[in-house]
Symmetry: D2
Subunit: 272 residues, 4 copies
């Protein structure tokens, strides 16, 4: 089923490279063709294995989403929400997966564009969330929020998070957002330190288009994508966000249990 596999390592991380080498050797023995550089992966891989952590998967997801190649994550350290295969079990899990025993799951990304004077300044993808945030100036930013062209409200806050279900257990959780099961077709808006006390996390339909328009700020504000890339915006600029057309196909080992992972990550009491 998976004959050509691209292995992606964490940049400048020796453990990741060594683990990838071991895994690669094992895969070759099983008769799998390995591909390495981005072009080759996009052209011929039918599975991507990311050896790193949730952060590495975020990055690979944004790079390869339009190639529609499924992604499996090996976590080097602690169990991740996305990288849910340990180094210890990776040989067994990968064997199972090659023999067709795995769970496949679709996850949405956000397609974001920054606009100025009606023109598109830049385009970005986000797998977890996109955030508009004030800079080091202590004053809140002020923005208008629109959903599908309809005015929702004007807010003063430190910032605004637009999150996917995948991102709901990341930064949005720190700012008071709810947990969204990966299967829901939704986008969630979470205000960061909002001035008005009746603002609450807002769950929108996954097909909604969100527009955030910066109407006041001492200087610039920053838009960041998955906490990895940043873009500076000015007064009057807008951020337009909608679900990306293509989805990520995450591969999980058989027996994958989302609730077990979340119990472990959030330290919920286990069943006695």
């Amino acid at each position: 089923m998976f004959n050509t596999i691209g292995i992606i390592t964490k940049r400048e991380d020796i453990t990741s490279e060594e683990t990838a080498r071991e895994l690669g050797a094992f895969l070759k023995e099983l008769g799998v063709l390995l591909v390495e550089d981005e072009k080759a992966i996009e052209k011929s891989a039918d599975l991507i294995i990311v050896v790193g952590g949730d952060g590495s998967i975020l990055s690979s997801a944004r790079t390869y989403v339009d190639s529609n190649i499924p992604i499996l994550g090996i976590n080097l350290g602690r169990l991740g929400f996305l990288a849910d295969v340990s180094v210890e079990s990776m040989m067994t899990v990968v064997s199972d997966i090659l023999s067709g025993e795995y769970i496949k799951e679709e996850r949405a990304l956000l397609s974001c564009q920054v606009e100025r004077d009606g023109k598109i300044l830049s385009q970005h993808l986000a797998f977890n969330e996109v955030v508009v945030h004030r800079n080091e100036t202590p004053r809140m930013i002020e923005f208008e929020l629109f959903v599908d062209g309809d005015f929702v409200n004007k807010q003063r806050a430190d910032g605004m998070i637009v999150t996917t279900p995948t991102g709901s257990t990341a930064y949005a959780l720190s700012s008071g957002g709810p947990i969204m099961h990966p299967s829901v077709n939704t986008i969630c808006l979470v205000s960061i330190s909002p001035h008005t006390m009746s603002h609450r996390p807002f769950i929108l339909h996954g097909e909604s288009e969100v527009l955030i328009s910066l109407i006041d700020s001492d200087d610039k504000a920053t838009v960041s994508f998955d906490g990895q890339a940043s873009f500076s915006i000015l007064l009057g600029d807008s951020l337009r966000v909608r679900q990306h057309d293509n989805f990520i196909h995450l591969i999980h080992p058989k027996g994958y249990d989302y609730f077990k992972i979340i119990r472990s990550k959030l330290h919920w009491g286990h069943k006695v």
Copy 2:
């Protein structure tokens, strides 16, 4: 389009009855056939007009959901989330609706059953939310939570709310739940005063089946539906909740703007 209309009034409310009489006279002049008792409405009405408030609509929704008759709400007092037509504008709005100018929207209900020793004790519908709550004993209840048969967690709390998107602006909001746009196909779980600090509102797919099993409590606990009906449960009893098969078809006047209503109800600042 709507030839036979059932008008429902708020029990023992003179204003509601007088308003209904006025509206009825107006409808008759327009050639509409009026029906009054439950049987007749279920059999022949193609529109239900509720003259009351959000509470009256909750009740009518549970009664008539399986007859698939659209519902329009006239609010006697303040603007409601569901009853969004004022008495002042009702003649105009109803005329518009009869000539086909209106917005129709589907809303989900919850189908709930209380189980003891594998047997169904009772069945209920909820349009806003179903709540398991401790009684007057000051001790928290303890329950296990399952989604689609999978164990989620064990919680100690004052209670647990299972809410529809419609209910997300009602009791769930007071307990810290997010706002869910009516168009999302989700169910939300909100713990009431949970003992564990990492419990957060949990957004599930609308097709999920939720099971809450009471494993500890000083005495009984209470399950309530839309804050209107209550049922007493014992240790070992379970509450099973899933989306009801039939949906409510809410009728709104043309120009209906969900965000405008929510801005008004939650006192968000308006656009200048």
Copy 3:
């Protein structure tokens, strides 16, 4: 320094009784006089040792606060906020304490009275918190809140918590209250599932007098003290709360570290 000690056990708890017997034998060897029944303890004890858990200390604190006898807590199970001496270390700790090596700390209690038609119906003490809470009826209660005779607000909620700093890590924490260091001279009001979104925990001066007046409720409401005793109130009844005149003198082993206990209980990451 401490010549006469009263040992208090957890009712009908064999482990507590055995531990108390062991400790008693040890104390006798050290020449300490032991007293057992309430009267004798009140009359002659200069130290009370509670062998149980935080719950047992709450109860002893309410019983003995006006005798001004210091209290030391041995926890039978997990480390408590109040019972901070383990069974394993109790001999060593008690020896140290008898030779004067300990930390003494004052903790406030709440003096509460329920009033009807200007008359006092009943009086209670609370070491953690006093709570006014709706009964099993699903409707919120409505009450007016006064501080030192000044009207604060009218609230609709599931209930209202009045907590001491000691109680701030108990039930109030589950309902969204802040943590109050034991040294602060404050009382905190925490609304439970308040209808109005701009209600927040309210920190008052320790000398404030709080009055909560029940102005609406479907039936009765319940007032509970430390989650251990309950009292039923009716529409029009009031709960008056102020700091009790006498304080509890908690005895801690030398090296007592409040922040270490709270890190452990709330699972905060430790210093690396």
Copy 4:
């Protein structure tokens, strides 16, 4: 009682200047001596009247706290928490105050210093709050928190607020902090979007010394004082905060009602 008054206006604000001129003329007629520049005010004023808003009072408070001159605030726009006299009523109120009819209230400030390698880099006062906050980099900062030299915890968050009771209704409220009555002798710590879900606002004794030590950050972080002044800090720098020795003496008109102001500002329902 108040013979020499310093009037302070909002910089480059014509309304403030005109109002001040009117008020000045009125005061002169009453035989009051007016002083204008900072030196003269510090030397001889026995009352400062700030014509502006809460922001202007924050700034004057920091400037004049060590001169121990009482401050009265005239608000030009909406009612403030601190500037609680309207332009319409100012003549009457000021007359009353000159004849001894007023309420005087003490408010604490925070004395803050930034330290690097054991040396004091800079010193600042804050009347509302001091905030350590990440810059435009999307990554959280990491810091260790100490109270009176004792380690409390290590946190990853967007930032940390140290607030006075006065500041509890300002920025801290947006980040989930409790309301503190002005009479309490406390400092409150509020984490901004903390990574760990069991962090909660922490109420400390007013005499506590707080130390926040930056141990990780992508680049610099920013410390801001009352949202008005900022200071850039580096990895390893610390912020030391304690209550300032001198207090602000706020003058309120007779009949001053703190709860009425807070009801109005937070839109709580009024008593019927």
